[in-house]
Amino acid sequence: MSADFLNLLEVAINGLMAGVLYSLVALGFVLIFKASGVFNYAQGVMALFAAQTLVGIQTGQVPFAHLINAIFGTEVHYFGWNVPALLAILFTVLVMILFAWIVVKVILVRLVGQEPIILFMATIGLAYFMEGFGDMMWNSEVKRLDVGIPSGGSFWIEDVTVQWAAEGERYFGMYVDVLDIWATVIAVALVASLAAFAQYTKPGRAMRAVADDPTAALSVGISLNKIWIMVWSLAGFVAIVAGIMWGAKSGVQFSLSLIALKALPVLMLGGFTSISGAIVGGLIIGVGEKLFEYLIGVPFLGGATENWFAYVLALIFLVFRPQGLFGEKIIERV
């Protein structure tokens, strides 16, 4: 095979891998939107907060150390212990469940029956509150996140694929990041678990019932509060996974919250109510933007086309399918 073709293949595969990471972020949005009709603006900040909490627990950081030191004149920063990664993830899950409980009890319950735009505004407020709260709790330094997932190009894939190139071609083997492979495996497992949970478990069916018709669900005794807490906890768990994957790439820092920007075109394309839409949408956006950058962006437009092209791609799909690829078509009768 020619090196050009193999390079194109490499770009497409890496696009698919990037798409999986976009899907992970989009999943959190879809879960909450499906169950409560809320577009959760705070999803990106949840990923940041989850990653900050994970690193904080793992490294034995004292929460609110700056505040404690300022008030009591102490100099405490670390407890002096390190928590194993899996245990730290477990504690972080508990923190995110507590967070979900607080959000539902303090905000959502009081806004039942309000217009979706009011709920959306509430999540904007929540996002900004959490940004500051997270910084105050864990400080705003850039932190290293290491839960033991390997990263870097796979030597095995490189060695195998380098032989595919025709003789005389300048080709160094195909690059696939091991972290991306892990992300793909985890995302597939996550989606399969979520689908099985929604399909085969009682709380999962209750969640779907609330998503279909909240009033009817209430009338048969399903607790809206419990379902919301469950869904926000699930979204919190997805945020942890997204936070780990993105945090491992660029460190845990404020910009982690901006990964939500990568999820928006995925949601536009895949629809706000479909888990499979989030996955397929992510893959299309990932491959589309990477191929466009490689074939047109760099040679003709000076590069850096990925951000805006993702939205162009999503808009093109929207023109033909306003509800997204897998979204439900909403018909409101007058």
């Binding site: 390079n7 490499e10 770009v11 890496n14 990037a18 150390a65 700056h66 030191n69 004149g73 920063h77 940004e131 500051g132 910084d135 400080n139 705003s140 330094e141 850039v142 932190k143 290293r144 996140l145 290491d146 990263s151 870097g152 190009g153 160094f172 690059y175 990041d177 972290l179 993105w246 790439k249 660029s250 460190g251 845990v252 820092q253 404020f254 910009s255 982690l256 901006l258 990964i259 990568k262 990477k290 950058e293 490689y294 962006g297 760099v298 000076g302 590069g303 850096a304 990925e306 951000n307 805006w308």
Partner: protein
């Protein structure tokens, strides 16, 4: 008793008759919140701590206490302008806008108000031409100095010959990131190296395409012009594709602890150009410990001391304080105005003896500012990261840039600005 009363009244009368000594006000347009807080906090801490040190140890500058007014910009240009407007009436002597975007907005405003701006290592590069930009200073170095300094270092590394070498520039796709392109293109033509430009979209968390291209083309060196999350992401991607860290050099805004710590051991050997020294092995840090930290007066959490960006803030404050001293000497008054401060900045002389006396020997290059040259000599040194000890160290002396290439660019850009704004030469 009567005598004591008389003495008290006399002292009160003398004090009332004497001119009131106001504070010397140094506004700090800081960003402790938002996307770039990790970079803004150490700089703001360093800037504030140095003035606290001067107040506590020396009683201020020339006997007049200093006052730092901190205003939060969140690295947002609009907020930066609001901060300027809300603090200039406090008797502000000099502004460090700490953002290229804010600097561009403040140039006409501050010039009209007669308040000097010190955009140290950022902002409008051609402001180095003091003939046109009377109130703007960007000593001791600017972006074009940095680009040339990096190429000079690579020339040294390659026995003075870069002919046929391939150099890639990975840059933030913004006005800031594009600053070095023209200079590097000129230097590419002069030295015969091939330049590849790789733009990264804001904020820079997704760089897979750029690093796949680097992996395919295998340039001899990669130069980075990034900020914020773009830096650690790029270093991480470079590690992933096994690009040698020794061949990877960043500008001074891509060379702090924030950029390398997240990448772990793989970042070992990464380099960046700098215009000031690194670490805390200077006598001034003993004074900061004694008069600031132990007195409970440290800015922020007091946990940034000795980091690259803390040192940059400290250095900026030292240069501002020395300019204020110069202004006091020129005008013979301790309570200086912004206009006098401008004169002090224009006559600033930083010598090795002066830095040593301040407890900062070889902390930065020795330089002199003149009416024509507000940019200083643009000397830059290369710093390298040691992942094991988690420290930066200088691996070169402060080196001269190629002014034969840079000066015509500064002259052309500033002349265009002067023509657009009908500015008469001031020198």
């Amino acid at each position: 008793m009567k005598l004591k009363k008389l003495a008290t009244v006399s002292v009160a009368a003398i004090m009332a008759a004497s001119p009131v000594m106001a504070d010397l006000v140094f506004p700090s347009l800081s960003y402790r919140t938002g996307a770039y807080a990790a970079g803004g906090i150490p700089f703001a801490d360093g800037y504030a701590d140095y003035f606290t040190l001067l107040n506590q140890r020396d009683g201020g500058i020339g006997g007049v206490p200093t006052r730092v007014i901190e205003c939060e910009t969140a690295y947002n240009t609009e907020k930066g302008v609001e901060c300027y407007e809300s603090t200039k009436g406090e008797g502000a002597l000099v502004y460090q806008p700490l953002s290229t975007g804010i600097t561009y907005q403040l140039i006409p405003k501050a010039t009209a108000d007669g308040i000097p701006i010190h955009s140290m290592g950022y902002g409008r590069t051609s402001a180095a031409n003091g003939d046109v930009f009377s109130n703007v200073f960007n000593y001791p170095g600017n972006y074009w100095h940095a680009a040339s300094g990096i190429i000079n270092y690579l020339l040294d590394e390659n026995n003075g010959d870069l002919n046929g070498k391939n150099i890639a520039l990975v840059y933030h796709n913004s006005a800031y990131g594009k600053e070095p392109i023209r200079t590097l293109e000129e230097l590419s033509a002069k030295h015969g190296f091939n330049l590849t430009l790789l733009a990264v979209d804001h904020p820079g968390q997704e760089q897979k395409s750029q690093w796949l291209q680097i992996r395919r083309e295998r340039p001899d060196n990669v130069i980075m012009w990034g900020w914020g999350v773009m830096n650690p992401t790029a270093i991480n991607e470079a590690i992933n594709i096994r690009y040698p860290m020794e061949d990877f050099i960043g500008v001074w805004w891509s060379g702090s602890e924030n950029d390398v710590v997240a990448a772990g051991a793989g970042a070992d050997g990464y380099k960046a150009i700098t215009f000031h020294n690194v670490g805390s092995d200077f006598p001034v840090f003993d004074d900061i410990q004694q008069y600031v930290v132990e007195a409970g007066l440290a800015a922020g959490a007091g946990d940034q001391i000795g980091t690259v960006l803390y040192n940059r803030g400290l250095y900026a404050a030292m240069l501002a304080a020395e300019a204020a001293k110069t202004a006091q000497e020129i005008h013979g008054v301790a309570d200086i105005t912004a206009a006098m401060m401008r004169d002090g900045m224009e006559a600033l002389e930083i010598s090795e003896e002066k830095m040593a006396a301040l407890g900062m020997p070889n902390f930065g290059p020795a330089f002199t500012v003149t009416c024509e040259n507000h940019g200083g000599p643009g000397l830059g040194a290369i710093q390298q990261w040691d992942a094991e000890s988690q420290t930066w160290s200088l691996i070169t002396d402060f080196m001269e840039p190629d002014m034969d290439v840079i000066q015509p660019l500064i002259d052309a850009d500033s002349a265009a600005f002067a023509a657009e704004n009908n500015i008469e030469p001031q020198c």
